[in-house]
Symmetry: D2
Subunit: 444 residues, 4 copies
């Protein structure tokens, strides 16, 4: 096969030399990823971050391809010597390409509400004999689909392949950091991909990095830390997510009510969404969902008879996020008072307030004591011994101990209105504002 | 007002110092542009070109802001001296921001089929007292909306303001070339925006460019030529557009039939689209349309009982564009024969074939003899005289005479199948292929 | 050998996997290129263009390495089929690396005055058994030095190898365009190296480019045209070159005079330069010359007893270039009058005036009728036939006919002094200025 | 004055609107900076880092210009309110441009040996009535030169102006980090200049940064840390510096000996260097020195009768740095043994070995307990209070405590020769190598 290239501004080109990979890209299930935004609602804050999971998936594939091209220099010589086995390339590339296949629209929010799990869907789409993806994978061998699925599930026997796809420093993270940096314009997310790849050395237990390049790896870790702090945990983005969550909760609640209450018409939910609301969704139905399904429904709901649904839909479409303040533990006892004021101002607190913290992901990432223990990043010294990155790098150590993010309380932006003398609710607003200073909840 | 900045990878930052501009951005009508892709279906070819009209509109605003910041150095001293009038800044910036406000989803295709006109909608949204945009504009003055609309309509009295927004070298083109280049990764679309702006000099009839920078202007013209040739006229992208056109034509035809034929159920068109299909759409209804409306409908149509609608919808969603060949005038007589073969292979030629040429836009751009005559780009020599760019630059002259693009014939990819012995239609395919060589229609 | 990489901002990395190449870089003759600026005096105009021939040479090597990595996909199958022969890689890489080895300081100017020829020196350094470069090359085979030299001399039997190193579109030009663009900040000099390389196809007579990428090749040609017009032919840079030429002519003249005139002391020329002034310079002596030799001499000359030498040296070091005006053929008859005025103002016209045109190089490049006929750029169509680029591309055709550059007359900047009433020479200045308008010589 | 722009790849353009600044650039003293490399010998490691102090100085000016353009938004309203005083712009810009004026060639090394001090020379050149720079500055006012000098000396009364030019986060550091990153290709040195500037707020005691941008400031600090660790402290670069130091020490020693020992001819030192060797150098003589003076001398010394001088000159010109190993305190007692072996192998230990550590600069930078206490970076919180960056940022705290760099022992590369059986010195080499492991000195 003559090499086929896709132009990509992040990697310059995505290079494909395996017809099986090209066929996977052409499947219906993979093409669907074009219609799912990589960062969900984040483009309401970083307005240029409009890229899809499709472009990210191609990027992860390309990085994995470059991994394989580098590792070929460290081929295994005798069994068990920890060298790279070139025959792993296909399973590596397929897993890289397909790792996000099960993502639905606005996954973060949807999984929370509808109890779906994109990782399980990824497995199922790969394993189900009904999908085009499965058919393409089976052209390699009957058990190739399950091999690919096991890489994504981290149960594949070769730990090198697994860690290239999911570990602290894998093709997935590398692409999303670089890509999100490119599309948001957040230059601090950049790091030196070429050099990181050239530092990779296979060993029996996975992939380590040559010690001469520790600064490059440090730079990756700092980029990651900064992208989380600045982009992924952005309070306004979270304000939009909270809005979407409440919007869907309200829709769910109305939908349930419609079954018994003849005043509520359940048809406000489009047919495509019904299986989700019924918590009984087949793979085919799941694969019919994309961002457009959701947006088209919300556009409809703008005119819903239910006042709360219509208002939340409007706020979501017209980008009126809930506002927020940071809450420290020692003032958390004040929250009920705030909720009271918000209710008094006419808002249903179930749909117009929320607590939301964004510590977990980042904290887990570098905290070996966490429940989800992550494999450490290993550094190979000149004499061949491995040491953990954080034991070598003060910078990474500092980040390990660091509690990223914060806890925030969300509420309608009306509560911060100034000089609203003409507004009946002005006294509630005014009192509420006594509790806010420097973007934080304070004891007045 | 303290300056507010939006990060933007193309311009680094979008800088806003006027609360009216910020209020325009926050309107419902402007936020809707987030949900309309700038390049329609082009991301099926340039997979990373997923940016919206929202980001483009902010970019045009930012370029106009930089124009104004530069032109302030050439303020008018005595009336009629051709200097810049600083009080034009607001109308310039508002027009720049709002120039694409009336774009609907997949405008190119939709306007063709539903006879809508995004420029008229832009005017109406600005002028209608029901829109939030109009309300914000009226805070400046009662006739400010009509001033802004007249800039976009090119009837505003000051030709400098008009030509900064729409001319051969205006804020709109500058942003879309740079932005489309950034998002596709087509580096040839880049040119030196800063320097072009610094070459601008106002004169009585518009804006000219200092002759010392002719190379920079040449570079812009070449970038434009290359972006049209490589990106905007891409045959695969046009194959997707043809598909979308036929898909909508089929839907229209079925919808019309549903009115009289009880076997056809008109509900396959969602409520939001009905006004469009009825050719009676109010501004409010128009503003409720976005890419998601269309995609959600097409997703539905994948399962339509009408075989053609379902097939075209599937091809569109799964990215199976119609294929094409270039047609020269001297072989155009062969097309009926090709159509015949396509019919014989089982395809309805109304929905599976098309002729499409892409000469016009590019040819018009630099041909003063065209029906849509464009204002030329003027160069100011050191002694103050103006000369037209193309009379000075051999490069631009060459591009003027150049017939960009080509005429193409589109057909189902099946017609190019090889070794399809098991396929009943194989003889038709085989005969068809005798007419194709080097991507062109030939006389066999 | 484990791959060794040099970081390079233009190519990201220079990658070396052949110990012979590494040994060549480490030779005394190659290291000397660090001390010779790539663009001579051009950094007096483009102040950041301070890069050396060393970095350029590594860049040419890297591009050649990428050529070879691509061409391996088009290996010869049967003798004479026009495929690539992988065993040519070493001679290709060595020739790429060493092609500029014979450059002396400020070559352009020096060759003109001292009748040296950097191409001949390159040959000699490669072939002379005394050089370290020769010793390294001979580790490959006894005739390897002469093979490498013949590639540079364009007499090597394989035309593919020759054209990769010197043709209209070769590794040398590609690196200098990209590198000079990077170091000057002239973004219009950029083009898509990766894509150009991927379009390359070997054929019996050389290297052609796939027709699907004609725009990329066009872009390269336009970049080249613009870099010549904007950077390489810049009038101020030429004003510095004229100054250097006259400075060296004056030094030569004084040196010659010192042999007979006891009032002139020949020791103002440092020992290292003497062989050059005597027109008898050995390779070893030639290799001892670098930019520092010249600058250190000129610094000395600033205090020379000869008024002209001292003045020219001071103007050169303190960046006071000769000024210039464009001269059209129909006013050329006025030049003697100008020279007269310059003499009357007290300047020796031999050292303070010059005519200089910059048509030749660029004109030759794309004019097959020129005495130095260049091989055309060939495009391979889908059916395998070759056509010349300029017969396919209107843009390139336009550039072929284009007479780049201009003829200029150089003179001391004093002649343009304004309001110099206190200056005895004011009348001469004033009259001179009657002949100048818009930077051109005019008939007053 | 119409704005004049210099193209610069780091800042895009250097913009000049003050004729005094343009006149300063045109002075003899400032033009001399073109002939002094910014990074001394570092281009022997980072081969593309060939930029001069001239380009850096223009860059520092441009950053200061951007500072002033931003600070104008925070003009002082009432005396003593800590606002920016626009009339400080000229002194700020002049000081920024001239801050490095006194740098000599290879300053680091030269100052150490010849006890010169570039900061004192900067003052003198600005204050001496003989220089062109002084004459230009006096066109502003008689005491303008001393004002500019006092900014550089940090004695200027307005602490805002001083800290914009020299503090932990000033125009000088910002330009050299960005510029060195651009020219070395070390992308980790990049940070977001535009955003840092936009975060600046003047206060009574200097310049603080808005807390919302702490990540941007963190990124600057990390860039700085990484550039020191990776570029400025690079062991090979230090090996070249040690070589240059010993070379000059040898030259000094021979020069001194020539005064009494008739066998040594002192003329091996060129006239331009003599005042330096005599430790009696006038400003005019100092200003005649540049990199070329040094390189031309060293080129001469390659053929010197003194074997050591000739050998060190050759190693320097042909890039054969001394090699090095890291030395920990607990093995420092082994150094005499190593020196013994090096002597036994025939090397004069005074000129072929050295200890060199690179802790100080970086350690000082962020350690307030150091003898050279630095002003901290202040962050302004929303309520106006100032806090020190390192008390807010775990990352910066981590860097403060971090001991950058290392102590190294340098020696001739011959000591690491392998398999040198034919070499008389082989036993010494072999024994030496017992003391080396993983690039470190070990107890065998």
């Amino acid at each position: 096969m003559q090499e086929k290239v896709f132009r990509d501004p992040v990697h310059n080109f995505i290079r494909i030399d395996d017809p099986m990979i090209l066929a996977l890209i052409d499947t219906r299930e993979f093409q669907r990823l074009r219609r799912i935004k990589q960062l969900g609602v984040a483009n309401t804050v970083f307005h240029t971050a409009e890229h899809s999971r499709f472009t990210h998936s191609l990027g992860v594939y390309e990085i994995a391809r470059q991994f394989a091209a580098h590792l070929i220099n460290f081929k295994t010589q005798t069994p068990g010597d920890g060298g790279w086995q070139p025959e792993e390339r296909r399973v590596l590339l397929a897993a890289a390409l397909l790792h996000d296949l099960g993502h639905g629209p606005y996954s973060h929010t949807f999984e929370h509400i509808f109890k779906t799990d994109h990782e399980k869907y990824t497995q199922q789409i790969i394993l189900s004999s009904e999908t085009e993806v499965n058919q393409v994978l089976r052209t390699v061998s009957d058990d190739f689909p399950s091999q690919v699925a096991s890489v994504i599930a981290k149960t594949y026997p070769n730990p090198q392949v697994v860690s290239l796809i999911s570990s602290q420093i894998d093709a997935d993270r590398m692409d999303y950091l670089l890509r999100d940096a490119y599309y948001t314009g957040a230059t601090y997310g950049m790091f030196d991909l070429f050099r990181i790849i050239h530092l990779m050395r296979p060993y029996v237990g996975g992939i380590a990095f040559e010690d001469k390049g520790m600064t490059t790896v440090e730079d990756y870790v700092v980029s990651r830390y900064q992208m989380y702090g600045q982009v992924y945990f952005h309070p306004v983005s979270r304000g939009m997510e909270v809005l979407l969550t409440h919007l869907l909760e309200r829709a769910m609640s109305l939908y349930e009510r419609s079954k018994t209450d003849s005043f509520v018409d359940g048809h406000f939910v489009s047919e495509a969404l019904v299986p989700l609301f019924e918590h009984q969704i087949s793979i085919t139905e799941y694969l019919a969902l994309d961002d457009a399904t959701i947006i088209a429904n919300i556009s409809n709901w703008r005119n819903a008879p239910d006042r709360i649904l219509a208002d939340l839909a409007t706020r979501f479409l017209d980008r009126k996020p809930l506002k927020s303040i940071e809450i420290a533990d020692d003032v958390r006892d004040l929250l009920p008072k705030l909720v009271e004021l918000i209710q008094a101002a006419g808002f249903d607190e179930r749909y117009y307030t929320a607590e939301n913290d964004s510590f977990d992901t980042a904290y887990d990432s570098y905290n070996p004591n966490s429940k989800k223990t992550k494999t450490p990043i290993e550094v190979i010294q000149q004499d061949g011994t491995l040491v953990e990155l954080s034991s070598e790098s003060t910078l990474v150590q500092a980040l390990r101990g660091r509690t990223y993010g914060n806890a925030r309380f969300f509420f309608p932006n009306e509560m911060l209105s100034k000089h609203a003398d003409w507004d009946l609710m002005a006294p509630m607003y005014e009192e509420f504002q006594h509790y806010v200073r420097n973007g934080k909840l304070i004891r007045p």
